[in-house]
Amino acid sequence: MKLILDEEQAALLKTARQFMDERSPVSRVRELRDSADATGFSRALWKRMAELGWVGLNLPEAYGGSELGLFELCLILEAGGRNLCPEPFLSTVVLGAGALMAAGTDAQKAAWLPRVAEGDAIVALASDEANSRYDVCAIEARAELDGDGYRLSGEKSQVLDGHVADLLIVSARTAGGRSDREGVTLFLVEAGTPGLSVTRQSRVDGRNAAIVTLESVEVGPGALLGAPGAGCALLETLRQRAAAAVSAEMLGLASAAYEQTLAYLKERVQFGVPIGSFQALQHRAARLFIELELARSSVLAAARAADDDPAAFPELAALAKARASELVIHVTNEAVQMHGGIGMTDELDIGFYMKRARATAVAFGDASFWRTRWADLRGY
């Protein structure tokens, strides 16, 4: 399995790093928060990313995409993670477009994917509910047959970018009870459909999320995404890809927090010497470096397997997400500690990293969840 970048990939990563540093510094995240920006990211920047081909990276050429793999997308996400870039990659590209590609009809794909690739449509997955925790099948929202179509009722929680989504992919039960594997069905619900209401939520990482409430929302037969009752399997597939993708973001986040800390260790003087000359801090910094390198290999392997080795992908996704989740928490904890008091202030960026670290560590299953999954996959 190839774990290093070829020339084109290295060039892509370089471009992405440069773009993120120039157009999306961390200060932008602070401004979005402090100005209580209604969108929470920049539509103009998203459009620009689409022009660079990043939004349609995984889509077929027929829909305006460039047919590259998750590996390439992960390079973009890693670069974005370094700067806490808030644009809707996870919601629109990984989950939204991913669901349409995996289960959409030709008509559904043709209707939405070109708009996605052009950066014009935001798609959100409205599946998790307030009590779902890490169980994708823990769904209580209901869909009742109503003539040709369905009526959807229920409440979805922390829907990523749900507040501005043009299209929501909604999960609801057509059969079974909470946590049953069978009976979950996915639906496409356009923004503005009567009965649909969206309330923005305020998260610790400042990232965009919303409560999506469905009160007898009527959808036609064309709204069905995939076979009725078979939604859980698709949700699991999506989660696995999303776990690998967010691990790449976490790798970028951890690397940047680490580099900032290393720089501070070299620069901050106490007792007449740079604090980085103290052996206890040196050893801890060295251990973080080792953890980073081990996580990097795991994330690269998972991303590669997503494209080239589907049999190995489930295990490697579990490995990447479990390691990256522990890594970001460890790195950001140490980053604050090594910065000392100043690291605790809102004035410094490190706090933003710590908060996003927590959100990503929890997203799509925490480390403990994925370790259990690994044991299941390995038969013990």
């Binding site: 610790v204 106490q270 007449g272 000359s277 052996q279 500690q337 690291g343």
Partner: protein, 403 residues
């Protein structure tokens, strides 16, 4: 009947008869109470009445000498008093750095005039104190502080900046370290000063933390005139005073944490029951269950260690740099507890504010962020471990300058 039993009986009767009913059963931690000071507003009249009746008998500082506003009690009687207060769930009548930090320091190092001026006011909660030690360039390396005090007649003129001063904006006086001899070796040119916050040139400004609003302030000192009579200890001899005070601070932090931890296991378990949807029986997530046990065991061991140290002191052992144990262990314990609380909450623990997030979870998330400072404030864990290694374990000093 022994004398101490008689004291207990008398106090019990007195409290049962006079303590405000509205305050009974409201006791929480040792530091939840009336912080006092000239800027305190809107204080419940029962709290003031409680303060007055307790201060009257010297019970706000029970072991301090009577002439300075204390009750002159033995450690054993003070403990009896505290047990009787606890029995009725009564909060401390006055709390704050006056009682825990500057008061004990003045008892040891203050002039008679300083004691008479400041200690009674502390006992009555009339003056609220804050601590001006850290500076932007002097964190762990406290002795590298740069705030300068230049003699000018019978006063010093102080210029500089302090940081991490809790509630400076609500305090009346600040105790400060300042540099009075820039030519001397680091620790030797420092003086310990008491400064009235109303002196012209003193301003305080709050600091925002990663967990949101905070009680911490920056304090700016610009041409502040401070009479020489407000020096504690010797001019250029402030480091000795400062170290003694840090010892009080460390044991205070340890005890404070001990108090806060008492209910943590029950809270974590009930959080886990709520988030895992398991009303009774063994928690269905064995990994979380084990983590809660580890936390509970750590807390129990910590509480037992505080108790053992307390008994040791009572039986005549001097408290020493072992207080660093309490600081390191207690602060990390608290961090792990909140780390675990947000882990238990999972996705529900990602809220910053409503809607869609439970109040308990929102609190846990803020506390988790706030707790990251526990291993930094009051002397970083690294500094505490250095102290432990050198002073308690007797390991030889490295060649790093100044430590």
């Amino acid at each position: 009947m022994a004398l101490d039993e008689a004291f207990g009986d008398e106090v019990r009767r007195w409290l049962e008869e006079h303590a405000p009913r509205s305050l009974r059963g409201t006791r929480r931690g040792r530091f939840d109470g009336f912080w006092g000071g000239r800027k305190a507003t809107g204080v419940d009249p029962d709290v003031l009445r409680w303060r007055d009746m307790m201060a009257e008998r010297g019970f706000t500082a029970p072991t301090w000498p009577r002439q300075y506003g204390g009750a002159g009690l033995s450690a054993a009687d003070a403990r009896t008093l505290d047990q009787e207060l606890a029995r009725l769930g009564l909060p401390p009548a006055v709390v704050g750095f006056g009682l825990t930090m500057i008061g004990p320091t003045l008892l040891d190092y203050g002039t008679e005039a300083q004691k008479r001026r400041h200690l009674p006011a502390i006992c009555r909660g009339e003056i609220r104190w804050c601590q001006g030690y850290s500076e932007p360039q002097a964190g762990s390396d406290l002795a590298s502080l740069r705030t300068r005090a230049v003699p000018d007649g019978d006063a010093f003129v102080v210029d500089g900046q302090k940081v991490w001063t809790s509630y400076a904006d609500l305090s009346d006086w600040i105790f400060c370290l300042v540099r009075t001899d820039p030519a001397a070796k680091k620790q030797q040119g420092i003086t310990f000063l008491l400064i009235d916050m109303e002196t012209p040139g003193v301003t305080a400004r709050r600091i925002a933390l990663i967990s949101g609003a905070s009680p911490f302030c920056e304090v700016f000192l610009e041409g502040v005139r401070v009479p020489r009579a407000q020096v504690v200890g010797e001019v250029n001899g402030g480091w000795t005073v400062a170290k003694a005070l840090l010892g009080y601070e460390r044991s205070m932090i340890g005890e404070a944490i001990g108090g806060q931890l008492a209910t943590s296991e029950a809270q974590l378990v009930s959080g886990a029951r709520r988030h895992l949807g398991a009303a009774a029986g063994p928690l269905p997530d064995p990994s979380l269950r084990d983590a809660i046990v580890r936390n509970a065991m750590d807390e129990r061991a910590f509480a037992l260690t505080i108790e053992r140290a307390r008994q040791g002191v009572q039986s005549g052992r001097a408290p020493g740099p072992e207080s660093s144990i309490m600081k390191v262990a207690g602060s990390e314990l608290k961090q792990r507890r909140w780390e675990l609380a947000v882990r238990i909450a999972g996705p529900a623990g990602l809220g910053w504010e409503g809607p869609g997030f439970a109040a308990d979870d929102l609190e846990a998330t803020r506390e988790w962020l706030r707790s990251r400072a526990n291993t930094i404030e009051g002397g970083t864990s690294e500094i505490q471990l250095d102290i432990l290694a050198r002073r308690v374990l007797g390991l030889p000093s490295g060649k790093e300058a100044g430590r």
